[in-house]
């Protein structure tokens, strides 16, 4: 359930720096994945005030789409593209069918529906594919570049960081530079006014969910090959880490989600490197509780009152 780190052995005191460097790069790479999950959560939270507990299960479903397409076509990238497309469509469908009808309902209802979808999606995946662990390929080599004895990063790490950053830049451009992005922001912040001005608010909210579905699917494709393996509940643990990242940054801030995700990745990498790889989820819980108690609105939130 927890990501395991491929930890080299350090045989002498002099290797401490090497170890620190390795853990830092490792943390950055995983942190970008958590940032992607966090961003997916934040995109949906900002526009519809729903914390999507089915996010992880949706990403797992997309990873199964990837592996199926890869087996039939033999192409990694066709599977990759199919998974992102599936993330887009699945999230849009889920928003239309389930969450649209919950507008104005108490928050408990949307949480329960999200949890119901989480159970339903994971169980459906289990019925179709079984719970046996499958291998999802890496896009690139995982051999790390070395500086002296210090392991730095691999091509896969570069791809992980690059693809998540690329998606973030793309989203930022859409939201701030295009007419569509303006309409989406208007629909999220002032739905009544936007509707009066002719914005198709419902359609914009669905689009926001769909974009979040794409980032979520990307996170799944990046994190599953890192020793997790693909099985129906594969992303449950990563979802919690992404949620931690989102809370660290503040659920209202996309920039905060990215910074929070990376910070979570670093903290957990150091914790698992210096204490033991079993403590990842425990360290995440501690981090989450500390942030929630000390600064519940997150590090980057701009909202004045706590709506926790």
């Amino acid at each position: 359930m927890t990501p395991t780190f491929d930890t080299p052995t350090w045989d002498s005191e002099g290797r401490r720096v090497d170890r620190f460097i390795f853990l830092t790069f490792n943390g950055l790479s995983f942190g970008m994945v958590y940032a992607a999950v966090a961003l997916a959560l934040v995109l949906i939270w900002r526009s519809t005030r729903v914390l999507n507990f089915a996010q992880g299960a949706m990403a797992t479903a997309c990873a199964y789409v990837a592996i199926t397409v890869q087996q039939h076509t033999g192409s990694y990238w066709l599977g990759f593209a199919a998974a992102l497309a599936a993330g887009f469509v699945l999230a849009a469908i889920i928003e239309r069918i389930f969450f649209r009808r919950l507008e104005g309902a108490p928050p408990l209802n949307s949480i329960v529906i999200g949890v119901g979808l989480l159970i339903l999606i994971e169980a459906s995946l289990g019925m179709i594919y079984g719970i046996a662990n499958r291998d999802l390929q890496h896009a690139f080599s995982t051999t790390t570049y070395k500086l002296g004895h210090a392991a730095l990063f691999s091509n896969q790490d570069i791809f992980t960081v690059g693809s998540v950053l690329g998606v973030m830049v793309l989203f930022a451009a859409i939201f701030t530079r295009t007419d569509l992005g303006l309409r989406m922001r208007a629909a999220a912040y002032a739905p009544e006014v936007a509707r009066l001005l002719g914005v198709r608010v419902g359609r914009m909210l669905t689009l926001g969910w769909a974009l979040a579905g794409v980032v979520g699917a990307l996170a799944g494709l990046l994190v599953i090959p890192t020793g997790l393996g693909l099985y129906p509940a594969a992303i449950d643990g990563v979802f919690v880490l992404g949620f931690t990242g989102a809370v660290v940054g503040g659920l209202d801030s996309p920039v905060g989600a990215v910074v929070g995700g990376v910070a979570t990745g670093l903290v957990l990498s150091y914790a698992s490197g210096y204490i033991g790889s079993d403590v990842t989820q425990l360290a995440a819980l501690v981090l989450l509780v500390v942030v929630l108690l000390v600064r519940p609105e997150g590090l980057f939130s701009t909202t004045r009152a706590r709506q926790v």
Binding site: L51, I128, L282
Partner: protein, 355 residues
């Protein structure tokens, strides 16, 4: 008002009568059914303990928990460790298990106070996420301290079977069912009184409008912690008897799936109603029982039958959870209650409430 009516309007007496009827029903039913059914009843008792606590927390006080299986694990592991300690010191006796269960309940209550103090400051999705993180982190605690918790394998529960005085035909599973169902009766009796008491009304007041409740002088934060503590006590006892039923405490049996299934039971039954918690638990056990039989009748290949065996029950829970929440937010009890109310209205003249 006749003496009988006056007696019946006294809440504690009414609950005591119902609890005694429950004890009688447990003794009768567990005696009649097979060992297999008694094993199921053991699980049912454990589920009822936990869902009753969960419905108080979520329904009555409005706090959600996605990690109640972790609290059950605290109870189950405490019971297992204490029994292990007893047997290491060659202490035996029938009193061991009740003492261990009591200790498990106390330890889980303390854990619940700690979790509740963190939770009291959180709302809605934040609380749900934090309790989810708590539930997911639990297996990593058991594997971090392998020497104590024995990792994935877990700890076996060592306790004596039924005493000879109950007769030689009194089976071990019958004995387990007694423990579990009596625990459920105790929890229900206790929680029914809490629901009907001033504390219960205060919990509901905090749920409905925390600011108004605070202005009326209620210590909202302390009440939220209290709800968590009471709910944890029920979960701890439930986890203890759950481990008694399995005869082991292992991380796999207190999974996230269990947390979410129990939430399903509470929602299906009807949030905030103890009757709903019992009905929801029965639905859960019933589905666990009939779905594998249904799958077997489909005559599938063994591989796909296995997939359905493992995954059809949670798929049905998930679908029920969504369906009930969207179409019948009051759960089963909202279907039953109007009928019951109509019948009781007709038989007993209204005396202006039960207190």
């Amino acid at each position: 008002m006749t003496a009988l009516q006056r007696f019946w309007s006294w809440t504690l007496a009414r609950h005591l009568v119902v609890a005694l009827l429950g004890v009688g029903a447990v003794i009768l039913i567990t005696d009649q059914v097979s060992d297999y059914r008694n094993t199921q009843l053991t699980t049912l008792g454990a589920y009822i303990c936990v869902t009753a606590g969960l419905t108080l927390l979520t329904g009555t006080n409005g706090q959600i928990s996605l990690g109640h299986a972790a609290l059950m694990a605290v109870g189950g592991y405490t019971v297992a460790l204490i029994l292990q300690d007893f047997s290491d010191n060659n202490i035996t006796g029938q009193w061991m298990l009740p003492v261990a269960l009591l200790a498990g309940t106390v330890v889980t209550t303390l854990a619940g106070v700690v979790v509740g103090m963190a939770a009291a400051r959180l709302r809605g999705p934040y609380l749900a996420g934090a309790t989810l993180a708590f539930g997911v982190a639990l297996p990593s605690i058991t594997s971090q301290f392998t020497s104590i918790f024995k990792g994935d394998q877990g700890i076996g529960l060592l306790f004596d079977g039924p005493p000879a005085s109950l007769g030689s035909s009194f089976s071990f599973s019958h004995w387990q069912a007694w423990y579990s169902l009596f625990a459920a009766v105790i929890v229900l009796f206790f929680l029914a009184n809490v629901q009907r008491s001033a504390v219960g009304r205060h919990l509901r007041a905090v749920r409905d409008d925390e600011i108004a409740a605070s202005l009326a002088g209620l210590p909202a934060a302390r009440l939220r912690v209290l709800a968590f503590a009471v709910s944890s006590a029920a979960a701890g006892l439930g986890g203890g008897v759950f481990a008694v039923g399995l005869q082991t405490a292992s991380p796999g049996s207190f999974s996230l799936t269990l947390s979410l299934s129990l939430l399903t039971a509470v929602v299906i039954g009807g949030l905030g109603s103890l009757t709903g918690a019992v009905l929801g638990s029965i639905v859960l056990i019933y589905l666990e029982d009939v779905i594998p039989g249904f799958v077997d009748r489909l005559h599938l290949s063994s591989a796909s039958a296995q997939k359905l065996h493992d995954n059809l029950p949670p798929a049905v829970y998930g679908a029920l959870l969504i369906g009930v929440m969207m179409l019948l937010p009051g759960g089963i009890t909202s279907l039953v209650r109007p009928v019951v109310v109509r019948v009781t209205r007709r038989t007993t003249p209204s005396t202006g409430g039960n207190r």
